[in-house]
Amino acid sequence: SQWGEENLQALSIQEGEDVTMNCSYKTYTTVVHWYRQDSGRGPALIILIRSNEREKRSGRLRATLDTSSQSSSLSITAAQCEDTAVYFCATRTGYQNFYFGKGTSLTVIP
């Protein structure tokens, strides 16, 4: 999982497989954001989940949030080559200060 002093995580899967990425955070938050970053591009928000939601779906994406363990996960169903990217979780602490995990580098092999 990503956060804190952990290094960038790397995952490599076959096309068509499902994958889950985990994120743990240190401070109280009411929403977890998930971003993806393609090579040479800026990060882009793909899904967010609020503390009153245990699960959120968007297409092939599924996010979960467990506030008791301060952790969130992002799952991709039937991964495709175009899902290859780095995925970050981000939380808001204080007044509009967002902090990002170190990310999970996902490679989907055809």
Binding site: N7, L8, V31, H33, R41, G42, P43, A44, L45, L48, F88, A90, R92, Y95, Q96, N97, F98, Y99, F100, G101, K102, G103
Partner: protein
Amino acid sequence: DMKVTQMPRYLIKRMGENVLLECGQDMSHETMYWYRQDPGLGLQLIYISYDVDSNSEGDIPKGYRVSRKKREHFSLILDSAKTNQTSVYFCATGQGCNQAPLFGEGTRLSVL
């Protein structure tokens, strides 16, 4: 379409030179951010601006300053650049009710 524009996209400077990175947005968002991204370190917050002339330090402000004289523009200035400021710099604005950062495409800065 919402967009954050960063200029230039690539920049090479010599140590000791001054650097100006510019960021623009067309959405009239109040909040704007500057982050830097280094391999293995992820995105680190340099400065946050809540509106014109209302700026606050992030986690790594040393060696940087910012300027926001118009809501649409947010500049990052490196006075006398150092080699350890070689990085990719991202500007972002706060989008939606959560003000989640909407990022530009980044400026890749090399300080030689």
